[in-house]
């Protein structure tokens, strides 16, 4: 068993000085401290291995999103992590939102997870019955800043013996927590995408799905919820909208929900949680399972006109350009599998991504090609 100071020391290396973690709340901490540390170590070792394997990927553009850890995790097939990508949430977006009203059930499959932990979550399909332990919300913090001791303990409190699934991903949490605080990438030097052109695609729309895992009475929801539309003759789902983050959700009677319109992964998740909360408040035992981002759309402007006729001729096998049908050229990039819509004005729309890094990578790939067809 690892000695107590070790994880701290590792974290310290990465994150600067850390307060020792406060004792976990009494209701949680179902694993002993030692066990937690072992997992932490295990995870750190894995990360070290991953860092060697993972190629430099797109780095942090949005300072709010500590994407590096996420990417490392996602890119390494060896890590037998949950198949659902972990979505890291950043507290940056949540600065004005206090989600403490959200009970554990809704936030996580891991019961004892105190709500706000905006650090990271793992979605699993484990059952959770949660004791309502809660820690003060660290939501006001910016990601890149100091480790929140409470969130650290949160992560520890997440470990649940009964949950085999959670065991593996859980150790990541404390680590990702700590790693997420440093704005620098701890282990792998990442090549910033912007070194080629300084242009960063902005995310415009994220479509995600989540399973509330209970049958819903759509009529009841439509009657009692604000901003809900339900027209069973037209479509078999309730359409609900919230203003912050500005999104739309389609809620089906099976309990599945689609959330669209968010501008970042965290916002999408936050919005989905809010919808789940609404459903829960109406009396349904809603949970929050299998949150998954299905599609991400980004756009940017290369700021020079592009000669599409040349592009379609030289990249015939990837592009189709039918100006009388659609004013943009449709470019099907193979690696990463992204579809780009390229317009004469220089605007580029990228879609079909499951991860932010794919969008950045696709744009990096296309930019030199577009420069070659710049219309002087």
């Amino acid at each position: 068993m690892a000695s107590a100071p070790r994880p701290e020391r590792d974290l310290g290396l990465l994150a600067g000085c850390l307060p020792p973690y406060p004792p976990p709340p009494t209701t949680v901490g179902l694993l002993s401290m030692e066990q937690q540390e072992t997992y932490l170590e295990l995870y750190l070792d894995q990360c070290a291995a991953q860092d060697d394997l993972a190629p430099p990927r797109s780095p942090l553009f949005n300072p709010v999103v500590p994407y590096d850890m996420y990417i490392l995790n996602a890119s390494n097939p060896d890590t037998a992590f949950n198949s659902n990508p972990e979505v890291k949430e950043t507290s940056g977006d949540f600065s004005s939102v206090d989600l403490s009203f959200l009970p554990d059930e809704v936030t996580q499959e891991n019961k004892d997870q105190p709500v706000i932990s905006s650090r990271h979550e793992t979605e699993e399909s484990s059952e959770s019955q949660s004791p309502q332990s809660r820690l003060p919300s660290p939501s006001e913090q910016d990601i890149g800043l100091g480790l929140n001791s409470s969130s650290l303990s949160n992560s520890h409190s997440q470990l649940h013996p009964g949950d085999t699934d959670s065991v593996r991903p859980s150790p990541e949490k404390p680590n990702s927590d700590s790693l997420s605080l440093a704005p620098i990438t701890p282990m792998t030097p990442m090549t910033p995408v912007s070194e080629c052109c300084g242009i960063v695609p902005q995310l415009q729309n994220i479509v995600s799905t989540v399973n509330l895992a209970c049958k819903l009475d759509l009529k009841k929801i439509a009657l009692h919820a604000k901003n809900a539309e339900y027209n069973p003759k037209r479509f078999a789902a309730v359409i609900m909208r919230i203003r912050e983050p500005r999104t739309t959700a389609l809620i089906f009677s099976s309990g599945k929900m689609v959330c669209t319109g968010a501008k970042s992964e965290e916002q999408s998740r936050l919005a989905a949680r809010k919808y789940a909360r609404v459903v829960q408040k109406l009396g349904f035992p809603a949970r929050f399972l299998d949150f998954k981002i299905q599609n991400m759309v980004g756009s940017c402007d290369v700021r020079f006109p592009i000669r599409l006729e040349g592009l379609v001729l030289t990249h015939q096998q990837f592009s189709s350009y039918e100006p009388e049908l659609f004013p943009g050229l449709i470019y099907r990039m193979v690696k990463p599998r992204i579809v780009l819509l390229i317009f004469v004005s220089g605007k580029v729309v990228l879609t079909g991504a499951k991860e932010r890094s794919e969008i950045y990578e696709a744009f990096e790939n296309i930019y030199p090609i577009l420069k070659g067809f710049k219309k002087a």
Binding site: I239, T260, Q316, L325
Partner: protein, 328 residues
């Protein structure tokens, strides 16, 4: 390949002269604008100025040709529909009419697939579109592809129609058009290019109601449905494109080089490749006229309709109307 007088109807051979390439580009690609002008009734678009604009007479003639051809096509499609006992003209009827010409049929199929694909992508981008799609029922994906596949499956006896789906051969005509466009755009400046792009975006499917009226659909007993209208719009566009392709070749043929004694015997392709500045200067004749003239169009149609060879009376089944269909 059709033997076309002295010229082999080989699309690859057309290479415009540099000084007239711009103008050719304009006249080729502004055709749509001009055809659609009466449909759109939008006089703001007329202000393009001097030789950049295609000749009014040419445009009127092309419009007339396209109109006649489409009306005839519609009538034949209506007949096919009636044979089936259907109440609307469906895309299947149009596909049936086109079954003879594999290349054109393939081009149409490709167009339909691209249309499906484009709606799929655009849907994913805008959340409103996504909602719209969900609301309208979710069997919209690849609907045109399904229609085409099911239909060709049912009429295919020899397997050659279905083979078209897997066929990845390059479409020469399309290739030629792409190359021509690329050549022309290379030398344009940004303003011209912007104009060019805008004119290329015009199509018959933009103002569907005007298109329907133009074809006088309301007076027909059997009317085409939505997808059939899309195909008709595409066929109209193709007809114009074909006409322009042919007319350009005819015009090329018509250029006489007074200084060259053998010009009547040499094909236009040869002239293209080997023409030098001297002989053009020596002719004293302007190498190319600025725009396609109505006479080019008429000659193109005449040659297209006049099939040479022993089987010519039997090759085109749609000549009852007196004019061979350019689009199928």
């Amino acid at each position: 390949m059709v033997v076309f007088g002295t010229t082999f109807f080989n699309f690859d051979s057309f290479i415009g002269k540099t000084d007239s390439v711009e103008i050719i580009g304009k006249s080729v690609f502004l055709y749509c604008y001009h055809i659609i002008f009466p449909l759109l009734n939008d006089s703001g678009r007329y202000s393009l100025g001097d030789a950049r604009r295609p000749l009014h007479e040419t445009a009127v003639l092309v419009e007339d040709v396209v109109h006649t051809q489409l009306i005839n096509l519609l009538q034949q499609a209506a007949e096919v529909s009636q044979l089936r006992g259907a109440r609307v003209i469906t895309p299947e009827d149009l596909l049936f009419l086109m079954r003879k010409d594999k290349k054109k049929l393939r081009r149409l199929l490709k167009y339909m697939f691209i249309r499906d694909y484009k709606s799929k992508i655009v849907k994913g981008i805008d959340e409103d579109d996504l909602l719209e799609d969900k609301l309208s029922g979710s069997n919209n994906t690849n609907k045109r592809q399904k229609i085409a596949q099911d239909f060709l499956n049912s009429i295919d006896q020899t397997g050659e129609l279905l083979a078209m789906f897997e066929d990845d051969e390059v479409d020469e005509v399309k290739q030629e058009r792409m190359e021509r466009a690329e050549r022309q755009t290379r030398i344009m400046d940004s303003a011209q290019y912007a104009e060019f792009c805008e004119s290329r975006q015009l199509s018959f499917s933009k103002k569907a109601s005007k298109f329907r009226d133009w074809l006088d659909c309301s007076s027909m007993e059997i009317k085409p449905n939505v997808v059939a209208m899309e195909i008709l719009a595409y066929l109209a566009y193709e007809t114009v494109a074909q006409l322009v392709d042919l007319a350009l070749l005819v015009r090329q043929d018509m250029v006489t080089k007074a200084g060259d004694p053998f010009s009547h015997a040499i094909s236009a392709t040869f002239i293209q490749y080997h023409n030098s500045a001297e002989s053009t200067a020596a002719c004293g004749v302007e190498a190319q006229s600025d725009a396609i003239q109505p006479c080019h169009i008429r000659e193109a149609i005449r040659r297209y309709s006049h099939k040479i060879g022993p089987l010519s009376p039997f090759t085109n089944a749609y000549r009852r109307s007196g004019m061979a269909f350019l689009a199928c």
